[in-house]
């Protein structure tokens, strides 16, 4: 790299209070898988109602391909843009302020809404647990409030402890799926699992002629919307970029190992549930893995899966608080939002004001009880972010070709992952349109509105030169 041609020449201020670099690949894994794993315990199964059990399996793998592309692209760019804010910081460097502002808001919305959905589910699980112990009518709201407060406090006090806790509870939740899989005797088909019987789904004659697909291929496409639940949030690993000790190594390692973990967990989850629960029940169950554990007749598995379901919801909310606050903080630092949000706690080295500010929003949505709407807000915000990623990688490779800057990871087979990702995003948008068309248009309207706000009211405050912080050579063509 030519020293004379760097775009940014930041010098470290010895008195600056920065975020603390204390994380390793294990924490990155815990952040990514922790956010997502709740989707294995609930939510993915709504894809069965759309496309049948086979439709859900196709969605599981096709959407798995979408997220593998996301993980590869993110790993390459984030291993060079080691900044809080993740994709927001990437967009700022590769595309421009308006795109960066939008990506930042997608991130905050995706994670805050997912956090609200997680604590909402946590409250419901406690209420259901109380009901099963003979006490009906327990109000979930105090538990929603408690979960947000405890997790926000944990995040406020330091990222190392917050993500170490996430590692433990995520590992318990993941291994509970493995234990359940072993418990349903996978090597003795027909003993506990009944795949032959459960998967013999008769198609509706007016909609489908394909055996096993009740609503035909359109149903399979519609299942893509809920297929995202298997993996939604793995891209959140990028938000840890400024706090990992070695971004170039830890982020690709944590993200890719997280993606492999999720592909295993998703496939096992589908296999267990599709073989134990009839598809028409599975398509509307609240907690299908917990229901499958009940079918085994083992009290140990029932208790384990209840605990694991609660842990997965908590781990997800914990990771979401971490990610939403980093994105908000990062936008404040560049004055895309008031700079007040860019404060770092001098003792705990966390973005404490951003953590505090987002608490009431998560609690308010958690109190609504509107799980489907809240999670759709998260899914669409996430999808908009994924749609930007192929553009992001293409611009990144054009402006800084391989060899011009040091990359911790190089996404293989470029541009194939970018093309595949863009195609699958378009298909998934169509799937969301089929299920939640009105909400999709409302949300697009919301993002257009905030874009106008940014252009006309906020952009004048942005630190236009200072926001380009990476010591890279001048981009090609400039």
């Amino acid at each position: 790299m030519s020293d004379s041609a760097v775009t940014a020449t930041q010098t470290a201020n010895p008195n600056a209070i920065n975020l603390k670099k204390v994380l390793g690949p294990v924490h990155v894994w815990a952040l990514g898988v922790g956010i997502v794993l709740v989707g294995e315990f609930m939510g993915w199964n709504y894809s069965v109602a759309k496309g049948g059990a086979y439709g859900s399996l196709i969605a599981c793998w096709v959407i798995g391909l979408l997220y593998t592309c996301v993980a590869m692209i993110d790993s390459e760019i984030t291993s060079t843009v080691a900044a809080a804010g993740g994709q927001y910081a990437q967009a700022k460097h590769t595309t421009g302020p308006l795109m960066a502002f939008n990506v930042g808001i997608y991130l905050v919305m995706a994670y805050t809404m997912l956090e609200a959905a997680d604590v909402l589910v946590f409250g419901d699980l406690v209420s259901i647990g109380a009901g099963e112990l003979g006490r009906e009518g327990v109000d979930p709201k105090p538990f929603v409030f408690l979960a947000v407060a405890v997790l926000a406090w944990l995040n406020y006090r330091g990222v190392f402890m917050a993500l170490s806790v996430n590692f433990l509870i995520t590992a318990v939740a993941f291994f509970s799926i493995i234990i359940l899989w072993v418990g349903v005797q996978p090597f003795s088909p027909g003993e506990i699992t009944q795949h032959a019987e459960m998967l013999a789904i008769v198609p509706l004659p007016e909609l489908s002629s394909v055996q096993g697909l009740p609503y035909g291929w359109l149903g399979v496409l519609a299942a893509f919307q809920f297929g995202t639940w298997y993996y939604l949030g793995i891209e959140g690993t990028c938000q840890a970029a400024e706090e990992v000790r070695s971004a170039g190594r830890s982020l690709p390692l944590g993200t890719m190992s997280g993606m492999i973990t999720l592909l295993i967990a998703a496939s096992l989850t589908w296999w267990i549930c599709a073989g134990m629960l009839p598809w028409d029940y599975l398509g509307q169950a609240l907690a299908p893995l917990y229901d499958a554990s009940k079918m085994t007749g083992s009290n140990f598995l029932v208790v384990l899966l209840w605990v694991a379901t609660v842990f997965s919801a908590i781990a997800s909310a914990n990771g979401c608080i971490n990610d939403a606050s980093r994105a908000w903080f990062s936008m404040g630092r560049d004055r895309y939002l008031p700079q007040w949000f860019a404060a770092v706690h001098p003792r705990y080295r966390t973005p404490y004001r951003s953590i505090l500010f987002l608490i009431p929003i998560a609690v308010a949505f958690g109190f609504t009880g509107l799980l489907a709407q809240t999670i759709t807000f998260s899914i669409v915000s996430g999808l908009l972010g994924y749609t930007f990623m192929p553009i992001n990688l293409t611009k990144f490779r054009r402006k800084w070709p391989l060899g011009s800057i040091k990359r911790g990871f190089v996404s293989p087979m470029h541009p194939i992952p970018a093309i595949v990702l863009m195609t699958l995003c378009v298909l998934t948008f169509f799937a969301v349109f089929l299920g939640f068309g009105t909400q999709l248009f409302v949300m697009i309207g919301f993002y257009i509105f905030i874009s106008l706000y940014f252009v006309y009211r906020r952009y004048k405050y942005v630190r236009r030169g200072d926001q380009f912080t990476m010591a890279w050579p001048k981009p090609q063509g400039y």
Binding site: A12, I17, F145, L146, P346, I355
Partner: protein, 61 residues
């Protein structure tokens, strides 16, 4: 009042206490440090790399 009632009231109380602690701490920090110091964090600065460089330079001299 049964166990579940106590648990619900307890949850409200613990959550409120934690939030109050965080808000009080945030006010205290704001009163002890200037805004310039609190918002002084820099993107793209690798403290660990700088420390390592300083360490290597020290060894070399």
């Amino acid at each position: 009042m049964d166990f579940w009632d106590i648990l619900q009231y307890g949850s409200w109380a613990v959550a409120a206490l934690l939030l109050l602690w965080m808000v009080a701490d945030a006010f205290m920090v704001s009163s002890q440090f200037t805004e310039d110091v609190l918002t002084s964090s820099q993107e793209g600065i690798d403290e660990l790399a700088a420390q390592q460089q300083a360490h290597n330079a020290g060894k070399g001299s």
